[in-house]
Symmetry: C2
Subunit: 352 residues, 2 copies
């Protein structure tokens, strides 16, 4: 060929020169357009790998108006870092497994802790480096939702937001977990059951609390506000939750944690008070982690597949992206993600 002439060129132009055809044809060949001879398409594809050609994303998305990437916004503050733990990495893997089937790339967009999440999201959206967004850790009445709706960019949120919630979302089954945990504890003849939640402005806390209350009511048990312990969803939070638990005048015999991570701190605080977890105090956690199986005693908690959750999240995102609605005709999905009880040794009848 005339590699001599194509040597100094770049991009698709180089490829075209190399093959002695026009750049239009090269582009069509690479993009699987129908009006190109199969023979030449083969030659183009072969030359592409030979020359290591990859289309320039800037040029492509400038012309197409779409980027072939979706964004996952996370917050990287030390606070979230402690909480979210390995949650995101598991989720990401599930997201990719579905997105890659549509040759969509995932970009994780971490909002700096110094910047306002709204400003950050606004900037990212305006820059148009993704076609759609996944929002994690949505707060009650999260303003980011209005922003994305207004900008008319497809998105899905991990977590309800408490509006009419007409947008697509998936949320964990906080009510179900609270219900089944109470059922189990009451079945073990516990009567005074505490619950640890983050401050109620966090969405998940109030939902969990609602589940807790209705479950108590269902069993004819009174709701005692003293038994609601507000604490951070960290190891440290679990420890201070333990503090508060021990300080109660009429000590409960069981406690429900909205975050599995808190168990570590709680375990320590209880052992400092010479209380045996599972005997003197029943503990049930929320989401299972590799950790919970290796605590002693093993933590009773609820299992879910992060990978599958990520997959469903991706599918529900595709369902609101115009390009993919033919393949994923689901509409805006609203989904409560089911969780499965994992029996440990951290609960049991009061008094052992």
């Amino acid at each position: 060929m005339n590699e001599d002439k194509s040597r100094h060129m770049k991009g698709i132009r180089r490829l075209a020169k190399h093959l002695n055809i026009s750049i239009g044809t090269v582009s069509r060949a690479l993009n699987g357009k129908p009006d190109v001879n199969e023979e030449t398409r083969k030659r183009v594809l072969a030359a592409a790998v030979e020359l290591g050609y990859e289309p320039n994303q800037a040029g492509r998305s400038l012309r197409k108006g779409s980027t072939g990437a979706v964004g996952l916004m996370i917050e990287s503050s030390p606070e979230t870092a402690a909480n979210s733990d390995n949650f995101f990495l598991g989720l990401i893997d599930g997201l990719q497994s579905v997105l890659s089937r549509q040759s969509l790339d995932l970009l994780v967009l971490p909002c700096p802790s110094e910047e306002d999440p709204n400003d950050y999201l606004q900037r990212m959206v305006a820059r148009q480096l993704v076609d759609a967004m996944i929002l994690s850790a949505t707060q009650h009445r999260d303003p980011r939702i209005a922003l994305l709706s207004g900008a008319d960019i497809p998105f899905v949120t991990m977590g309800r937001a408490g509006f009419g919630d007409s947008h697509a979302w998936i949320d964990l089954d906080f009510e179900g977990v609270a219900n089944r945990a109470i059922d189990r504890l009451v079945g073990q003849s516990h009567r005074r059951i505490a619950v640890a939640v983050p401050p109620t402005d966090v969405n998940l806390g109030s939902i969990f609390l609602d589940g807790y209350k209705t479950a108590l009511r269902r069993h004819g048990l009174p709701f005692d506000p003293d038994l609601v312990i507000y604490a951070k969803t960290t190891e440290q939070g679990g420890y201070v939750a333990g503090d508060q638990l021990l300080g109660l005048s009429e000590r409960p015999t069981a406690i429900l944690l909205v975050y599995e991570l808190m168990a570590i701190g709680l375990y320590r605080r209880l052992s400092e008070a010479q209380l045996r977890v599972g005997k003197d105090m029943a503990v049930i956690g929320f989401r299972e982690s590799p950790r919970s199986r290796f605590l002693s005693p093993r933590l009773t908690c609820f299992r879910m597949s992060l990978h599958e959750l990520g997959g469903s999240l991706a599918e529900s995102l595709l369902a609101v992206m115009p390009q993919f609605q033919a393949q994923y005709p689901l509409g805006a999905v609203h989904m409560i993600w089911p969780m499965e009880l994992v029996e440990g040794e951290s609960d049991g009848p009061p008094g052992g």
Copy 2:
């Protein structure tokens, strides 16, 4: 103004029409170029916020050949998810704090577990959506390094790679930690000290092991290959490391963990064997986490600031980016990140 006429336009053109000036001037005003009247610059800036203008990234980077973003490549396999824990989120926050000062954005690029990391990196680089890369979890002789060097894209790695290592890197002080841990244990009159490392093809393992060996030699203690336990760096890995430990004919009195996470599994295994951590078996971990303070007994381990590490990583990246070498004239930094001992209750003289 003639908003009527500018209504239907987009981008910088809209702004220009709105102000009745040329798009060239608008662009220069926004980019802080000197040849623009301060008066008009003010008007442009004001109009930009008024109309909520954000430059289109595709157009900009197509023209400039740079994107204003740097990438952090991570791997999202379930394996890494378990290991890396909250490592990345902490790191990211530190990275951002420095990068944002240069108005650089950070894009986290998670390699799907199904895709070959090299192919993925190649794709991302070729797409030109970042100006520079940060590689995490570099392996021994990591081929990604050759790839980036060849593509002539600035990068820095988190972890040595064992080549000549002429590229910029920062790595944790595995030798120092191993040395000081051994010093401490020997000072507590331990003589048989085990060490748990991942399979040696992982870079950090062999370095840690080297530090362990030289420290033993320094104290005139023999190196016994039986005391090197190969295990995964997870809770599960800590548990099976405990298994192996207990199975040794001549049981050591102390063990050194290359990963703090393993402590949870090890604690459990030891308690199952009725051994008291810190009395019957001294345990020293590697990197401190919020967790280690709430284990009982508290884990003796080594502390570092993820935030500062991220900051240094970002600075050393800027130092190899041509655009910023004036401000960060460091050259290619090779840095061993220092760590500080945190005394817990998990070690002590043999026999309590």
